[in-house]
């Protein structure tokens, strides 16, 4: 196929409708950025749940030698098998508990080390004489509640048991954080949705104007037997160029957000949370579910273009 005509048309088309294309690009840029931020917030919630548990979970740390809590429960040093059995029975007998799982010293240590590396705070784990070691890390039970409201019974029962060092009950704090994340996520997706709808209308209008401006050419192309694809190609390429520019701008903005916002600011100030990394950023770009902006942008411009050109260019 001879494409010289197509590219000439693409160039004149982009120039002729420059203001419309700019409008499409800006709208796509903003809406895709919002969609991407929504995805990053969703990933952040997942990352946070993975390492901190969610608002249904309570962490029951068991005693270690020289336990830092100085709790009277730890008078006998490292938790014993007998003590552990009592604790396990107490958890199993409680009607507030949905399920529980044991986390060994090694597992807990690995998990904490991973999270520290994510946040660049692994110094305490490393070096010739590290502060944090497997021996000093407590074994623990993750207790999952039936509802976040009812935990008093199990907490007071465990508090007095020998072998229980501290009970970390982060239900309130985590509940608030996840609440904020949910609002942020849906807020940015709703905003993105409205703007993507606007982008869709703009794409539609751009094509209608372009088809109008080119109606003589199109009529003659149909008459002399140009294929539908050939006639539609300049339209598709115009839409594709707009999509690529919009996606590139949004990807740039998200990268800047990840670098200066998350890595240089948030993760320094808020260290108890693990933060999204460049892997999550990649997901926001090319993930499938929810669709990343590299998929969303071209799909939202090319699909309406294909449908409309079929209408305007029909043989």
């Amino acid at each position: 196929m001879q494409l010289r005509y197509v590219f000439t048309e693409l160039r004149t088309g982009l120039r002729r409708n420059l203001s419309m294309h700019l409008a499409v690009i800006v709208t796509l840029f903003v809406s895709l950025s919002l969609a991407g931020i929504g995805i990053l917030v969703q990933r952040e919630a997942t990352v946070a749940r993975d390492s901190l548990g969610d608002e249904l979970k309570i962490l029951v740390n068991l005693c270690t030698d020289e336990d830092p809590s100085h709790s009277p429960n730890c008078a006998s040093g490292e938790v014993t098998a007998d003590q552990q059995q009592r604790i396990e029975k107490e958890i199993a007998d409680s009607d507030e508990v949905a399920s529980s799982s044991f986390q060994s010293k090694e597992e807990g240590y690995e998990r904490a080390y991973e999270q520290a590396k994510r946040n660049n705070t692994q110094a305490a784990f490393e070096g010739p004489d590290p502060v944090v070691t497997v021996e000093r890390w407590p074994a623990a039970y993750w207790v999952t509640l039936k509802t976040p409201e009812r935990a008093d019974g199990i907490i007071s029962a465990l508090e007095g048991l020998d072998g229980v060092s501290v009970i970390k009950d982060q239900r309130k704090a985590l509940g608030q954080i996840f609440g904020i994340m949910t609002v942020l996520k849906y807020g940015s997706w709703i905003g993105a949705g409205f703007l993507l709808f606007a982008a869709l209308l703009q794409v539609t209008n751009t094509i209608r104007l372009a088809a109008l401006a080119r109606r003589r050419e199109i009529a003659i192309m149909r008459l002399v037997g140009a294929s539908t694809l050939y006639i539609a190609l300049p339209f598709l390429l115009e839409a594709l160029v707009a999509a690529i520019v919009g996606v590139a701008l949004a990807a740039g903005l998200l990268a800047a957000f990840q670098y200066w916002g998350v890595e240089k600011a948030l993760s320094d100030h808020v260290q108890f949370l693990p933060w999204v990394d460049w892997g999550d950023y990649t997901q926001a770009l090319i993930g499938l579910f929810p669709p990343g902006i590299v998929i969303l942008g071209p799909a939202l411009t090319l699909i309406p273009t294909l449908l409309l050109t079929r209408k305007y260019v029909k043989v």
């Binding site: 196929m1 001879q2 002399v224 037997g225 050939y230």
Partner: protein, 229 residues
């Protein structure tokens, strides 16, 4: 080459059909006038040949193929075998004469080399050898129609369809266009020309098919325009 079998075409809305049980047969290499008053159905018949329209009932065959049931993606291939000329020329105003003619080849994927060879040949054939660089609005009506004929003929179609090609031209210029269409017919191209120009039909005697209210009322091998009126 073109065959209508009991073709009826009804446009949406009430009223009689634009074509009513039309049956006709045009052989390869013929030159045929389609005559009749305005609204008698001439343009409708031509658009059926191009498959711009489909018949309401009946069958249209072009080059041995029943085109009503042809798949949409095959229609461009059909149209590459048919050149079309209109009363209002339909040239692209922002392209030169050469570019206008070349356009018909570019958009069906002909190579630059072929275009460079065939376009000047065709311009010479229609008598516009020296006017390739002109813009359409720098040409007379007759010259513009020659450009349109060059564009219709540049892909060497089997069939040339002309819908009132002399409708906007004075008699002397029209005669020139008729000679050109005659030359094209001499190359073996089937020519179907819709017209209601008495002078032309009587002067350049050819087969005449007359339509009246969508019906074929006359088909004469070597007729004149409406001798019975």
């Amino acid at each position: 080459m073109i065959r209508f079998e009991k073709v009826t075409k009804r446009y949406p809305g009430p009223g009689r059909p634009a074509l009513d049980q039309v049956t006709l047969d045009i052989d390869k290499g013929e030159f045929v006038y389609l005559v009749g008053t305005s609204g008698s159905g001439k343009s409708t018949a031509l658009r059926l040949v191009l498959r711009e329209l489909r018949p309401t009932t009946g069958h249209v065959h072009v080059a041995g193929k029943e085109i009503n049931r042809m798949a949409g993606w095959k229609v461009p291939r059909l149209r590459r075998q048919i050149g079309t000329v209109f009363q209002d020329f339909r040239l692209l105003p922002n392209k030169t004469v050469t570019e206008n003619v070349a356009f018909a080849q570019q958009v069906i994927g002909k190579s630059r080399r072929e275009i460079g060879k065939v376009v000047p040949e065709t311009l010479e054939l229609v008598g516009l050898k020296d006017k390739g660089d002109r813009m359409p609005d720098e040409l007379s009506g007759g010259e513009q129609q020659r450009v349109a004929i060059a564009r219709a003929f540049v892909n060497r179609p089997m069939i040339l369809i002309a819908d009132e090609p002399t409708g906007n031209l004075d008699p002397a210029t029209s005669a020139g266009i008729m000679n050109l269409l005659g030359d094209i017919n001499q190359t073996g191209t089937t020519v179907v020309m819709a017209t209601h120009d008495h002078g032309i039909v009587d002067q350049f005697t050819k087969r005449v098919i007359e339509l009246d209210h969508g019906k074929v009322v006359r088909d004469e091998a070597s007729g004149s325009y409406g001798f019975q009126h």
